[in-house]
Amino acid sequence: MVIQKQEAFLDKLAATLGRERRTEGVERPIWSVSPQLEVYQGFDQDDLVDVLEKQCAIIHTDFRRTDKAGLANVLKEVIIGYEGKSIIVAKDPRNKDYGLDGFYEKLQQVGREVHEWDATKGKENQVFAERADIGINFSDMTLAESATITLFNNKDNGRSISLLPRTWIAIIPKSTLVPRMTQVAKHIHEATQQGHAVSSCVSFISGPSNSADIEMNLIVGVHGPIKVTYIVVD
């Protein structure tokens, strides 16, 4: 790794600002206002689910709600609806916590392909994801305001799962709901300050991909998934 031409470049900026280079001691000021902290204050988890549900309708995303016991069934319905023959899922301890390991096994027994992301298999994961009908992720943090799934991608949870398959399902544990992006940003900022390395890719995903490049009409589903379902689990 190399950093090139930094010194001359930054010296010049300092000079045009009419002062010495600042290399330390710069602190963020305390901003005079903080409206972002006020959004949905005092909302409990159920209130936030309501906000999320409303926003789903606006962003072309199907919304389902169930509990742990009902999750496998709802998932099955959605998979059938998406005509999912091949499915890719993250290697996530929550698969087991939510009883989905058994469910995925059963799916395989009835002839559906289920691939759990496997870091040791390298690019094979991408190849599978590219031809998969469905990708499934658990949400790490969920923004009620914009109906956004936050994924901290890592070696067991590849970026491809939520990106390459034709459709995508996000499972949202109710406890992951926060009002808006503010809370995620704070979380990452604090972790960074404590010296934790931020994930190589933090994905904020709100519904299916879309475009308006043909005659200014909105087309849902371009490069990313064409259909998306969120399942909130109480």
């Binding site: 031409k5 963020r28 959004v39 995620v184 390395a197 190589s200 308006a212 043909i214 990313g224």
Partner: protein, 473 residues
């Protein structure tokens, strides 16, 4: 510098825009939608004025300490396995990028469109070096198939209707389905997937780089920027040096301002924050990562009375409310940066000589200043430009030129009437349905929000017909 998109005279460009009624209507209705969308979204946020104040404070602090934050950014990117190159000029940036590609023996580049790579003329430089460049935004790709040039930086294929797109697909790629937009898009998706999977290099712009952790944030709707940053083994981010924030917390605020001010979305479909190379054991993401920080004239603005122009987050809100833009359309500005912000920064980046009319492209109604989510005093900066031009005694010629074009129209009572009407809130509020079916929703591949309202197809065909193709496109 390739800010210029047309070599026709300013007067001609304006004339063409003004004469085109159809275009004016299209722009005007698009502006109405954009504007009411923005107002609705702003209303939902509640205290919009507080948000704007916060945006302004963040941008002011960051720019005042830009050397500090850029150094922090570069150290963090380095820690995460990335290379950083500081480019004073467009040429330096292009040379560096060409060199990286050559060293990797790269043959194919997939790009998600960005203003800064347009500004430095990267595609042209790469193509001249024999590298295949695939623009992966839907609209850009359509044009590339036809060897066509963009008619608009937001919806670049605006001058083509769906029948023409179908024909192009059939002719160039053997497409045999209908001209339904969904089917066309699906076909493009399949075709472009092959490019994504076979490309050696991915190149994107940058909405906000986060100094504290070395992350680069991309704000998109289509998802192509995610593919560009996930699949190729080498990845290059090109950022204008001012596109930086101190921490994730400021990124979050500015992204909220950007998506709302641009088209009234709470967030775009994808906000993606990538940091350095992929980590041990990861499959997606690059094994080699480069960040190119571009000055290209920006430092000339720093430390001057125009410094606040560098606060711009490229949301296009000022353009969407501008009565002059409504009247003449985007191409009349002759710069890749149109509208009020274009009129402010183009002469700063590229000199008064080629763009001396732009500061006159305003009624000074202040709608732009009111719309700006980071409170850049756009109309005051335009007045200041005019004063400088007068002081430098360049006026006589310019005034003559300008009075024939923009300024002549802008000083008519009709212009003020339009301004006054525009200043009233919510022309026609978006219903939910309208947002979905007719709302601009696009926000597409803007690494810099490519959602300026669209002048009509007809307008652009005309424009193209008499456009000097040998120009500095």
């Amino acid at each position: 510098m390739s800010l210029k998109i047309s070599s026709g005279s300013f007067e001609n460009r304006v004339q063409r825009g003004v004469e085109n009624d159809f275009m004016r209507q299209a722009v005007s209705s698009a502006q109405g939608r954009f504007k009411s969308g923005r107002l609705n979204a702003a209303a939902e946020l509640g205290n919009w004025e507080d948000w704007r104040t916060l945006g302004e404070e963040i941008r002011t602090h960051t720019l005042e300490n830009i050397d500090y934050y850029l150094q922090q950014l570069s150290e963090q990117v380095f820690k995460r396995g990335g290379h950083v190159f500081f480019a004073e000029t467009a040429e330096e940036a292009n040379e560096y990028i060409k060199d990286v590609i050559k060293k990797k023996n790269g043959k194919k580049v997939v790009k998600s469109k960005s203003m800064v790579t347009e500004e430095i003329g990267l595609n042209k430089a790469l193509q001249e070096a024999g590298v295949e460049v695939v623009e992966t935004d839907l609209g850009e790709w359509i044009l590339q198939l036809d060897d066509d040039v963009p008619s608009h930086i937001v919806t670049p294929a605006l001058h083509k209707n769906k029948e023409q797109i179908r024909e192009t697909f059939a002719e160039k790629k053997g497409y045999d389905k209908s001209d339904k937009p969904e089917e066309l898009a699906l076909f493009a998706r399949e075709q472009l997937r092959k490019d994504f999977l076979s490309a050696d290099i991915g190149i994107t712009g940058c909405n906000f780089a986060i100094a504290e952790s070395g992350a680069v944030t991309l704000v998109t709707n289509e998802g192509n920027a995610r593919l560009v940053t996930s699949l190729p083994d080498t990845q290059i981010t090109v950022m204008g040096m001012e596109r930086i924030v101190p921490t994730w917390e400021e990124m979050e605020v500015l992204v909220s301002l950007l998506t709302r001010a641009a088209v009234g979305q709470k967030l775009t479909s994808y906000i993606t924050a990538i940091t350095g190379t992929r980590l041990e054991g990861e499959v997606d993401g690059p094994e080699e990562y480069h960040l190119v920080v571009v000055d290209n004239g920006r430092s000339k603005i720093l430390g001057t009375e125009f410094q606040s122009a560098l606060h711009c987050i490229r949301c296009a809100a000022c353009i969407n409310v501008c009565p002059v833009y409504r009247h003449v359309g985007g191409h009349a500005y002759g710069s890749i940066y149109p509208g009020p912000i274009g009129a402010v920064i183009t002469p700063l980046l590229d000199g008064y000589e080629d763009h001396k009319e732009l500061p006159y492209a305003s009624t000074l109604c202040a709608a732009c200043t009111e719309a700006c989510p980071v409170k850049i005093p756009l109309h005051e900066l335009l007045i200041r430009h005019r004063q400088i031009i007068v002081e430098e005694n360049k006026t006589s010629k310019i005034e003559k030129l300008a009075m024939k074009g923009f300024a002549k129209w802008a000083s008519t009572p009709a212009a003020y009437k339009i301004s006054a009407k525009m200043a009233r809130p919510a022309l026609k509020p978006w219903t939910k349905d309208e947002t979905i079916k007719n709302g601009p929703g696009p926000m597409k591949g803007w690494t810099d929000i490519r959602d300026f309202p669209a002048p009509s197809r007809q307008g652009f065909r005309d424009w193209f017909k008499d456009r000097d193709k040998g120009g500095d496109a």
